[in-house]
Symmetry: C2
Subunit: 577 residues, 2 copies
Amino acid sequence: MYAAPLADIKATLEQMIEAGRLSQTELFADATPETVEAVVAEAAKLAESAMAPINHSGDQEGSRLENGVVRTPTGYKEAYAQIAEGGWVGMAADPEHGGMGLPITVMSAVNEMMASANLSLSLCPLLSQGAIEALEKHGTPEQKALYLPKLISGEWNGAMNLTEPQAGSDVGALRTKAEPVGDGSYRIEGGKIWISWGDNDCASSTVHLVLARLPGAPAGSRGISLFVVPKFLPNADGGLGERNALKVVSLDHKMGLHGSPTCVMAYEGATGWLVGEENKGLACMFTMMNNARLGVGIEGVGIAEMATQKAMAFAMERRQGKTPTQDGQGTIVEFADVRRMLMDMASLTQAARAIAYACAFQLDMARAAPTAEARADAAAMGAFLTPLAKAFGTDVGIEVAQLGVQVHGGMGFIEETGAAQYSRDVRVTAIYEGTNGIQAMDLVGRKLADGGAAAERALGAAAELATAMAAGAAALQGPAMALAEAVGAARETTRWMLEAAPNDRAAGGVDYLRLLSLTFGGMYLLRAAKGGDPRRVALARSFAARRLPEVKALAVRATQGAEDLYALDAQTLSTVS
Amino acid sequence: MYAAPLADIKATLEQMIEAGRLSQTELFADATPETVEAVVAEAAKLAESAMAPINHSGDQEGSRLENGVVRTPTGYKEAYAQIAEGGWVGMAADPEHGGMGLPITVMSAVNEMMASANLSLSLCPLLSQGAIEALEKHGTPEQKALYLPKLISGEWNGAMNLTEPQAGSDVGALRTKAEPVGDGSYRIEGGKIWISWGDNDCASSTVHLVLARLPGAPAGSRGISLFVVPKFLPNADGGLGERNALKVVSLDHKMGLHGSPTCVMAYEGATGWLVGEENKGLACMFTMMNNARLGVGIEGVGIAEMATQKAMAFAMERRQGKTPTQDGQGTIVEFADVRRMLMDMASLTQAARAIAYACAFQLDMARAAPTAEARADAAAMGAFLTPLAKAFGTDVGIEVAQLGVQVHGGMGFIEETGAAQYSRDVRVTAIYEGTNGIQAMDLVGRKLADGGAAAERALGAAAELATAMAAGAAALQGPAMALAEAVGAARETTRWMLEAAPNDRAAGGVDYLRLLSLTFGGMYLLRAAKGGDPRRVALARSFAARRLPEVKALAVRATQGAEDLYALDAQTLSTVS
């Protein structure tokens, strides 16, 4: 069963990313380390006691569509009510509409614990957070007054309607139509797929944010507008009125996340209202994309943490064969190969967590820092770290969950154990909210468009730490030197990227993203080890010895260019022979 | 849908491992390249037309236990009948009892195609092959006469009963009892778990090979004997007699392989007969362990091939966004990052296939080579390559299936597509028949006990090829140099392993196994590229540029030793903090 890693979260916040700086800003003056610790501890209780106990049963039972209505698994409704009552849906929302106004950094820690405890259920508040943010930034005053209090309180939930069958990663290809009715509302017609929590029996209504095209809108991504389309049309008093003309056609049969209803939606002349400007829908979506991507990265961290805990507990109990220690009588945790896996799991998890929280911190400082320059710097760094937080966080989630299955041996393949569920649930996180390949394209495209300034700022900090610690405590000199080498390879690769043609960058993007992430991960682990805590020293050493060597291999891969990949025409490449 | 990769299989057999040498031996004189090609083509038809069409439906339907009897999914019975009629169950069995007497090399190619087409169903003949081999080697003449013809014809199927809840990887800990009855038979009492195809409605009886302890047998692995325990007691004429006192208690609910019934078995005073000598049961099992492990490695190759085909087909059809080629109008196969994944998938699959087939070839030559010395050399090489074939084959199966999901994007997470099934089905192959960690322990323990002779023989061949080709065709000079570097790192790591303490080797075993496998894979791909075929040249170049660089990183990891892994006591390591 899940136990929130409170000390690790605290160490990440305080030692690795120095989040204490938040409370020195005016905006987050209340977010002192003590308050943050108390908030995190409160959320930990909720995750442990209300969400974790129904994670496995929810997977086995699954959400179902019955007479056009989604029934979530037993216990979801009650657990959701607790999430809502605790104020966790609106924890980062503006206090003006009932939110807690917490920094994204703290929200990320809370979201991580909810993802660890029950990823399927955690998606419901996570998606509401996205809807809240979109309406806060782009809604009219009337829309804000109508929707925000109910979304923030959790009475209603939010759902994002982007994808259509022909328009997955390429959102610009979507076809859903919005016709002005003349009274300020629009008639929405079209179909959407992969709509997580598009309907449910936890909230009393679902507020859909829907991307659609106005008549005569330009083709492609410049002709898309954003609409708010509630399941029930609100009455003048904000209560639930008539049922809107939208419905759930079916639920997808997925590899994992069985508790989370993934809806195929049909809009059949549903009534909606424009959010933001006409044809600026994608821009509206993009303003919250950083947070959403960070949120998904955090999902990966959450599953990595849970899979690690589960594997550790199993390895501590399971007896098989003669161990090299304890007169051969130990449990399998005593085998070197099992320890290798556990150390990899723990250190990768902590590295991914640090990168994700660091990203969150920068997004907070982009709002809260005292000067415009500092805010701009933080925004740039947050934008730079976002694809890393998303792709590395979810890749680590998958990798660690797979290692967790392996530690369990045969029991890992049996569903009763639960280890398999983590590997199934987390799989989609590398795909949705922009595949990890798309994250890499974002990194080597948009995020290097500053001439590598953000990359160099981050790598410079790592180099500085490496230099300082190479002359410090003996146990950390080796890791410091490994970090320095990794920084060297990362800098060289960055230079190569900056000079390379776009498609050559694209060919190496995924590898570049990973090598940067490993390098930064090594930096954060080393920073936390500075205090001399034996566990943190051991993890930093393990990561430096066993994961940082990958950086050089990745640098070779990342800088191969695209030419060879096109040596075969597609037909020859794909023909079975 | 699956299309057997006949040209790739042929190239592997003829160019990579030079299997033509088999027909120069007396034992396999009939296995000429032409005959082998005809046999493979015949099996290909069966896999494509009878097995592949029921792969997805079988996963969705699953095997069920109804009134104590296993019902396999719709169509399994009919497809199994075709496998049996084609003689594929007994394809490598002795012709004396109705087998085809084919080399293991050819059997491996056939098994690969069956695994690609329908892994769940393919396990049934695969396990029968194991039972046949055990009885051929250790059965009495009466046992052979009674069981072999029916197993070889497929009328009955074979099942292996090793695991008990407390005895997974540590088979020596098992507790099932066998009491002599006095008439030459034994009374078997105990429970077994994870018994694949332990009951079914495809064959008319199931022949269980059961490991159990005789009264007063020594503790541990030296007190285990092997018994044959049929579902129905045979009549004097070989027909089915009375039902034996064994039953299926339940079927496991697994992450994948839903079509394959995984039984919890209860032996309640079942009648069995000793196979081989008393207390030599594990040795009997070990004589067929190489083949069984190779068989599982081949399962990984089969799924890798299938996942690659599926991803290629999807990437050729799916349109999303503006491609960097074809005026932006191409399908996603035109994106560099998608090509990177596809090239990795194809080249890894071919590398794993070559290693597995090379292992099979050595196992054949261990029987067929003309001199005792050549047979001993082949046996040693076959034993050395077995853990690589098993662990690398299955790791590649998992890695490639995961890449396949990723290429599919959101469709990869939806079960209807089929890509997810491959990743679920293949997951257990890294676990059963000895986890991949155990394969690595076997490699750095038993398989290096020759002082590294087999390793050096294999690496020497790779070095020779690299030297020859570094001066050959320009397109292959780079890959040849990359191979030479990999060989250098592999040799250094081998030397380190030979000098290291056992637990230090154990700590690096998994990484050492992978670096050897990548090196040999690079060699085989280069050998196939020698002829200048553009597809093979491209794959060899891609593998050398993008996968061989891993070898150096793995060498660093492999040679870290165990000390750091024990820096924390287990309690500190595992405590959530």
